[in-house]
Amino acid sequence: MEERQIQVLIEQANVQRNLSNWRGAIDLLQRALSLDPDHAHAHATLALALLGARRLPGAGIEARMALHLDGNDSFCHYAAAHVMYAERKLDDAWAHCLVAIETDSHDADTHVLGAAIRDLRGEVTEARELLQTALELEPGNTAALTKLARMELAARNFEVAAGYAEQALRSSPSNTSAHVVAGLISLARGDHAGAEGHARFALGQDSTDHDAIHLWAAIKAHRSPLLGLWWRFHTFVSMRTEAGELGLLIGSFVVMEILTILAGHFDLDRIQTILEWGWLGFCAYTWFAPELFKRMLANDLGTVALDPDF
């Protein structure tokens, strides 16, 4: 009876996850785990819901708990791979993904996840092979087509990328990820209006979708050179792990300070003044730009509506 109740709660949580209602999914899974705190599947599903809510530390704990409780379950390995991919622990993520693929070789989504991991490891050919396998298992798999479009976009093959994005949109016309990638391709081709149309549609589907908000922010950044500069800097910094980000910021500070001290040592007063003021300006800009950017974005997102002609 209790197992049946837990299964129902997990199913309901999956429905909420598909609707991107992470909070709803988390609440349901907490209820399931109150009934049985050792339910591996509930822990794994909770890990994925927490990941959706961008609660990475909690997701990591839940995914590891699920693996500890049932190390043979393919879904637990899939969830662990997902979380470790987000943690940028790519070798561990691939090891778990491989176990999940070997245990359940007919699941297209696991192949897509594997492709994402291998792509980030720089193994583009292997990533493409995994995506082709996913498409053989499930022709028209939107996640696989979207990922292929993103990879082609990264390689600046805009025509091929657009072809995959079109296929993804044909396969699933209201899919948020497909619209986001189509928007990114339009933006890369300089078609701001097209990109905005896709962003509006994606945000209309799910106003909390991180990628859709990212696309909207990128469009705004293209239109405002001053804030766009910060957006590019932010994207460049946030591509790194936390340790890498910290190293980059502290490293920049140390280099600038060393240059300032050396300029003073060699009596290059003018250069020293320029460096000091430049650094102060950079600090002030990187402090206030995100606030201005967030406010601009919040105002926009409050009024975003789909163009009737889209």
Binding site: R31, R55, E62, F253, E257, I261, G264
Partner: protein, 158 residues
């Protein structure tokens, strides 16, 4: 009883005094370490952070480390191994880097809990007035002792 996720903050009676972790980080630059480390520690406690112990230890290490580094630098200056001027400035840069790195790292650790705290609708106080007061008090705190080690310990990362 509901299942508790490990990253969830606990409710505390000090919830009304929680600030964004970027506030103590800014205080470390604008006001000094005398304000930043205690503020980071207080914020961890007020937020009911599950990583409170780690954050408190980090604050302690940051403080003890700057005191130790300061003492070493001053001992080297007294012994004549570090002449005043450019070499001394480089030695002080090492201490500033130490403080800044810890302030950034503690702020990053605290931001993870802060994100969950906000997610559950926790109240957040505007820290502008506190930083302004700290900036004004900075001179008074620095003047409490004329020992150079005191200045090194309480001064900021920048």
């Amino acid at each position: 009883m509901s299942y508790t996720i490990a990253d969830e903050p606990h409710e505390t009676s000090l919830g009304a005094y929680v600030v964004s972790p970027s506030a103590p980080l800014l205080a470390s630059m604008m006001c000094g370490a005398w304000m930043a480390w205690p503020w980071f520690a207080f914020n961890a406690i007020a937020m009911g952070s599950p990583t409170k112990k780690k954050e408190l230890i980090l604050c302690g290490v940051a403080l003890a480390g700057s005191a130790l580094l300061g003492a070493i630098v001053l001992a080297f200056v007294d012994a004549g191994w570090i002449p005043l001027g450019t070499p001394f400035k480089f030695a002080m840069l090492a201490i500033s880097t130490w403080k800044l790195a810890f302030a950034y790292y503690i702020s990053t650790v605290q931001a993870r809990t802060f994100h969950v705290y906000e997610y559950y609708g926790g109240s957040v106080r505007n820290a502008g007035g506190i930083i302004g007061t700290g900036f004004w008090l900075k001179g008074i705190v620095f003047a409490l002792s004329d020992d150079p080690l005191w200045i090194i310990i309480v001064s900021g990362g920048l």
